[in-house]
């Protein structure tokens, strides 16, 4: 398989953070092309043709989303970039923004032109303050060159780009919570409809897109939507940034062509180079903490015995029974020493901590699951707790305002489905569970 790079192609160019090196390597050529030779609708058309799917997690086709944007006369429209990146396992947007900030800046101006937005916003999580500074410098450079501001490239298109920090809340990655937060409020998700495309930021039509989705518009306009769509397999087109972490020999951010085999990604020399310290693969969460966990025998092959690929379809093959999701591309790998019960408890604690508290099933349900899982993890649980978890799960699923409830419920259900024996072991071996994980010894750093 080839290994084309569309986003990180110039990663190693010295000074690529700055505008001069970026322009020297073809930067802002897409913007110039669009502003001088294409109408906004033609840009939207190329994005539709490219088959680009939202890189924030849901995988919704970007061109289609753009075509839903309401365009009433006399009301401003906005593009908002979701740089809140806080799904456990995901750190690709940070990497892209830090290394090649102008790619996002160019993508924002380009996409805003397509959408007819005079102002756009980047909402970046508060913890990434140093990335905010890098982006602000890039924005200032773009203003100085006339790529932002009035009459860009003599086209008559004006644009202002503003970047603003969050305050540390995972839920603000959910697009309507993000909009609330951007309006200076608590990050409580809104009830949909109305969708942001109709009533978004300050009740104006708004598109919210992930950092990587917006950056991908730059190569799409440069090469054309068809060229982009020629990479990948089926409805998984183009390249994807995957952030790999956990017990890997070489964790990090990789740009892959969609369609790469999972096996090659985990073990290949160009990618993660296998499990750290020569250990064995136990499980994998391939798309951020919200997606179902896969036990080792379902990671590189599907239940039907086919090779598992890094595509939206292949990772989901087998549905909830034996599949998972590509999600945000947060690829978490567990070695043979890791305890699934402990990890499930840890993730549930995360969701309980991050629930905004608006819906009782999510607020109470995540709290209860956390308590029950903690009880199991520390050897104080009962066998019936395992079914109790499944029951709480069902009561959350589908009964909440935003998908955080589901995101909290699914990983628990998947862990029990595939690792029930481990949950039961914690009940039947309470003493050992107190001092060791599933028969695995943890080395304390403090004696």
């Amino acid at each position: 398989m080839t290994n084309r790079k569309l986003l990180l192609e110039h990663l190693d160019v010295p000074g690529i953070q700055g505008i001069d090196a970026y322009v020297k390597h073809g930067g802002y050529a897409s913007l110039k092309k669009a502003l001088q030779k294409m109408s906004p609708d033609e840009v939207v058309e190329e994005v539709k043709k490219s088959g680009l799917r939202g890189r924030g997690g849901a995988g919704f086709p970007t061109g289609l989303k753009w075509s839903f944007l309401a365009k009433p006369e006399g009301i401003p429209r906005y593009l908002v970039c979701n740089a809140d990146e806080s799904e456990p396992g995901t750190f690709k947007d940070r990497y892209l923004m830090e290394k090649i900030p102008h790619l996002l800046v160019e993508g924002m101006i380009l996409s805003s032109y397509a959408l007819g937005a005079k102002t756009s916003y980047i909402y970046i999580r508060g913890e990434f303050m140093y990335v905010l500074e890098i982006l602000q410098n890039a924005i200032n450079e773009a203003y100085a060159k006339g790529y932002l501001g009035k009459n860009i490239f003599g086209s008559g298109f004006d644009h202002d780009l503003v970047i603003t920090p969050g305050g540390g809340a995972y839920i603000c990655g959910e697009e309507t919570a993000l909009l609330e937060s951007l309006e200076g409020k608590r990050g409580n998700p809104r009830i949909k409809p109305p969708f942001p495309a109709v009533k978004g930021l300050w009740a104006s039509p708004t598109v919210v897109n992930n950092v990587e989705s917006i950056a991908a518009v730059v190569p799409i306009v440069r090469d054309g939507g068809d060229a982009y769509a020629s990479i990948g397999i089926g409805k998984s087109t183009g390249t994807k940034l995957v952030s790999a972490c956990g017990n890997l020999e070489r964790p990090g951010v990789y740009e892959i062509e969609l369609g790469l085999s999972v096996e090659e990604f985990i073990y290949g020399d160009n990618y993660c180079r296998g499990i750290a310290k020569g250990k064995k693969l136990k499980a994998c969460v391939p798309g951020g903490s919200s997606v179902p966990i896969l036990p080792h025998h379902l990671v590189t092959k599907t239940a039907a015995g086919e090779q598992r690929l890094m595509t939206y379809e292949s990772l989901a093959d087998g549905g909830f029974q034996s599949g998972s999701m590509l999600g945000s591309g947060g690829f978490i790998v567990f070695d043979e020493d890791q305890c699934i019960v402990r990890n499930t408890w840890n993730f549930t604690r995360f969701y309980a901590h991050e629930s905004c508290g608006q819906c009782s099933p999510c607020r109470e349900g995540t709290g209860w699951m956390e308590k029950v899982l903690h009880r199991l993890e520390t050897g104080k649980g009962h066998l019936r707790d395992i079914d109790l978890l499944a029951d709480i799960n069902k009561k959350i699923e589908g009964n909440t305002i935003c998908p955080l409830g589901d995101a909290a419920a699914w990983p628990v259900a998947a862990a029990i489905r595939h690792f029930r024996d481990e949950f039961e072991w914690h009940v039947t071996h309470p003493e050992e569970a107190q001092i060791r994980n599933y028969g695995l010894i943890q080395q304390p750093l403090v004696a």
Binding site: T90, F91, R125, T164, G166, E183, G184, C245, G330
Partner: protein, 179 residues
């Protein structure tokens, strides 16, 4: 657990300087007229960077600057985990404890830091220098274990690195990150 030691900061010392107010006014200008409230998170970060935490007095001054009711500032400040609503040490170590970091040893690292500084989670050292907190996913999953302190990330941590990090902070060698 060890007893919690709070640094006493009097309300009077959180009076905003003209310079700080000017920065806050500038943050407001990033947004359209009538939508200045959008700058609230940036402004809360500015106040916290100045005083280390957010007192009620700070929040009341922010309400005036934004021309909103004080409750609108309180409700926002209490929602977001980055804001400290009580006095904290000069250096707050927020160590990520979420899954991917746990897989590479954050639990043990948190224990080590607590042991080294002789404090529990949420506590401050007697000299008022360090506070230990845990945080949920900080978005550096491939570089763990990691912690953030004053808008800086410290990654790939080991006990040895923690030892030298603490010494560097004690000597005042690490400047705060961007803001």
């Amino acid at each position: 657990m060890k007893e919690s030691k709070k640094v006493v900061t009097t309300e009077g010392t959180t009076q905003f300087s003209a310079e700080l107010i000017a920065k806050m006014e500038e943050a407001k200008n990033c947004f359209p007229e009538g939508k200045e409230k959008s700058a609230i998170l940036k402004i809360l970060h500015l106040a916290q960077a100045e005083f280390g935490w957010l007192s009620v007095h700070s929040m009341d001054q922010i309400a005036e600057i934004l021309r909103v009711e004080p409750i609108e500032v309180y409700e926002v400040a209490t929602f977001y985990t980055m804001f400290h609503l009580e006095p904290v040490g000069k250096y707050v170590f927020e160590v990520c404890r979420t899954g991917p970091c746990m897989l590479v040893g954050s639990d043990q690292l948190i224990e080590y830091i607590g042991h080294k500084l002789n404090i529990g989670i949420g506590e401050t050292t007697k000299d008022g220098l360090f506070t230990l907190k845990t945080a949920e996913c900080l978005g550096g999953c491939g570089y763990g274990p990691l912690l953030q302190c004053r808008h800086r990330f410290h990654e790939h941590l080991t006990p040895e690195k923690i030892d030298s990090l603490i010494e560097q902070y004690q000597r005042g060698e690490i400047k705060p990150g961007a803001l």
